[in-house]
Symmetry: C2
Subunit: 224 residues, 2 copies
DNA sequence: CGACCATTTGATATGGATCAAGCGATGTGG
DNA sequence: CCACATCGCTTGATCCATATCAAATGGTCG
């Protein structure tokens, strides 16, 4: 919504200097202008012109749609290193995005990326790889929605543990409602399932937002 | 599975001459070698090297995964004009594909497409557009799986009607089991739902495989 | 401390799965 | 040409996972 400042050489340099061990798309996509959003504020809305793509530096983002019946479906959670807003069909965003926690992102014009990709095959290849990974992610989401509540929650926890790379302690940035809207369940079911997993000694719910994985293989079994 | 003959200049020319009013990706992707498959035969299997991409000329194809618990999830149905097998993460197919009915496809090396895309920005752009459309399709599949049985079936019929472009008469190439595995339902539920839609005068089930849409707006309302 | 919001827990309802049987079309051998 | 087997589909009865409705608990921030 707030159009970020145009990409200028100095901001470009500044962004490049911020390059760090952000996950997998090495370096070429580490450009753009840093912009920050406060918790629960909108980054962009569905149907808005998709001029910019974003990469998370710190914090966390959810992308979602509001369905006709008022329910909200979360398409994905985006953690540091992740890109979002890039792959849109046509010129409008197909999802809304907002910051779950206070978040800083790098903003870059999609058009700029397109030009760069045209000029540098390496960048084009990276974009293509990213696209493949994104497609895979959405396909996995389809498979997730076919499973039982227990499998969905167990799978979600394992995925978050992997993505946050923090051993067995998973600090969830998102609320139960967010999780429910991602997994296609209700908050009650998510809560009950977590309680169930705790009774089964697979996890420990330290606080609502902090889960400790006690028995990964059990979780993996439940994930099936 | 049966590795198609290598792309040679004469087959290339032959394929180009077959160019016709196949749907949306105009012409540049209308190249490759025609190959035919009989009904219910495998085109490729999951985990096989993804050397080739395919475009349906005539017939129909399903792509699917077999899940750990033995269920089958159909990722999509591919009708004349559609491309499949192109977007794979890495070098292996992530889905299996087989012919639903007797089917002819154009086969082209993915590598060839990559080279062509590198050389011709127009082709690169077409591939990118296709990718965006594919991503959208999978995202829509996610949304589909959140709906009620009635909404899924109604939405499926509307989609098929649109894709086959045959007015109100929809000739389904696939079985109830295929539909169920696509919609994440059981055959019983699909069957009952169709009967229900017929009672509601929204459709007419002429034969098991031929559905006539009697009241699209009602269907659209049920699709929500 | 008190208010508010997120989460958990409890009781009940329900949509779709499962189990089981019947039916209709298609094809095959006698 | 018909009897019969087969396969895909429909219909029926029951069960179960998750939604829904409702209330209690707990954590956070003024």
């Amino acid at each position: 919504m707030p159009p970020p400042p145009a990409l200028r050489t100095d901001t470009f340099r500044r962004a490049i200097s911020m390059r760090n061990a952000l996950a997998p798309l090495s370096h070429t996509l580490n450009l753009g202008t840093p912009v920050s959003y406060r918790r629960n504020t909108e980054i962009f809305g569905e149907k808005e012109p998709a001029d910019y793509a974003y990469r998370v530096i710190s914090g966390s983002v959810r992308t979602y749609k509001i369905l006709d019946d008022g329910r909200r479906q979360i398409g994905g959670f985006h953690l540091p290193g992740d890109i979002f807003g890039l792959l849109e069909f046509g010129d409008e965003h197909t999802f809304s995005a907002d910051a779950i926690t206070d978040t800083t992102v790098l903003v870059v014009k999609r058009k700029t990326l397109a030009v760069l990709a045209g000029r540098h095959p390496a960048i084009a290849r990276e974009l293509f790889t990213f696209t493949g990974r994104e497609l895979r992610r959405v396909q996995d989401h389809v498979l997730l929605l076919l499973k039982t509540a227990q499998e969905r929650v167990a799978g979600f926890l394992l995925e978050m543990a992997e993505r946050t790379c923090a051993g067995n302690v998973v600090d969830l940035p998102m609320s139960r409602q967010d999780i429910a809207d991602y997994l296609g369940l209700t908050i009650e079911t998510v809560s009950r399932t977590l309680t169930g997993l705790e009774s089964a000694a697979a996890i420990e719910v330290s606080t609502a937002r902090r889960i400790v994985l006690r028995n990964r293989s059990a979780l993996r079994r439940l994930d099936s």
